[in-house]
Subunit: 159 residues, 2 copies
Amino acid sequence: MTANGFETHDHTQCISNTLQVAEETCREKGLQLTPVRRRVLEILAQKHTAMGAYEVLDFLREEGLGSQPPVAYRALDFLVSNGFVHRIERLNAFIACVHPGEHHAPSFLICRECSTVAELPGKPVSDVVAKAGTELGFTVEKVSIEAEGVCPDCQEKTA
Amino acid sequence: MTANGFETHDHTQCISNTLQVAEETCREKGLQLTPVRRRVLEILAQKHTAMGAYEVLDFLREEGLGSQPPVAYRALDFLVSNGFVHRIERLNAFIACVHPGEHHAPSFLICRECSTVAELPGKPVSDVVAKAGTELGFTVEKVSIEAEGVCPDCQEKTA
DNA sequence: AGGGCGAATGTTATGATATAACAGTCATAG
DNA sequence: CTATGACTGTTATATCATAACATTCGCCCT
């Protein structure tokens, strides 16, 4: 289990690790980590909270990297397709993957107070779902598991 | 395990059961199953596929039961809050619950070909997530588990 | 060199989903 | 009989997402 948004960690290190893995992976697979794509990943990696596409776009716009929605969506699509970023369905938002490079079926813990998202290995959970599907003759291709609740920090603040 | 969208079943029976349970539950709990709310549930119960709010609204409009988005969203909110309908996050759409009355944390199998949605008891799966959350100090309140894939019928058609 | 191709980006326009805010209706508890 | 609360009606607008077509640029082919 590597870092998640609830543990304190060296976040500078966390960011550079994410970027580095993305660069290596792209090199290996012949994918183009273009300036826009790289920058979007960097923006998302700043925080362990999910960010909407238009929020990302605001950054790009300020930096002259693009001003129209498709620019952001295309970069996000690329990053999601290649496993560098996850889409949080409940939030219609995106978050940088904290286990980049690992082949995984993540599950997410989403704090409804501070919007911090922690990523858990979801393999055991998704296996159960895949098995249940198979019994019904259903072929499971993707599983998304998203839990909403309150994170440790926000529980303290409330108490 | 009661009926799901992949098994053949007496769907007329399925619809009337859904409505009946909703009526009883509302009576017991002092909730108002108003005409709009009842009709929305009935509309969703027609099929085991998820329907968008605007699609539901089209029916209501034709029938003079409402013409503006809030009418549909309010009825859907009521039905979701009380467990008669589930929201499928991946699809931004809604589906009638097939286990009404049962206290459950469902998971869904969504066919990407025909959009049929099957509801599985998700309790064992969500328990795993809740446990993992607890270990991190996170209090899990809601878990949504949604799998995308291909249903038995569509697999046959493709083959 | 010139031409064609594919991948990425730029841009316009529009579609799809969702909610805030306030006004009107109606039953009923005081 | 009026005050309250739950529901509904309506307008306006916010938010999220993509279709479609134009442009750029590197690269391969001959």
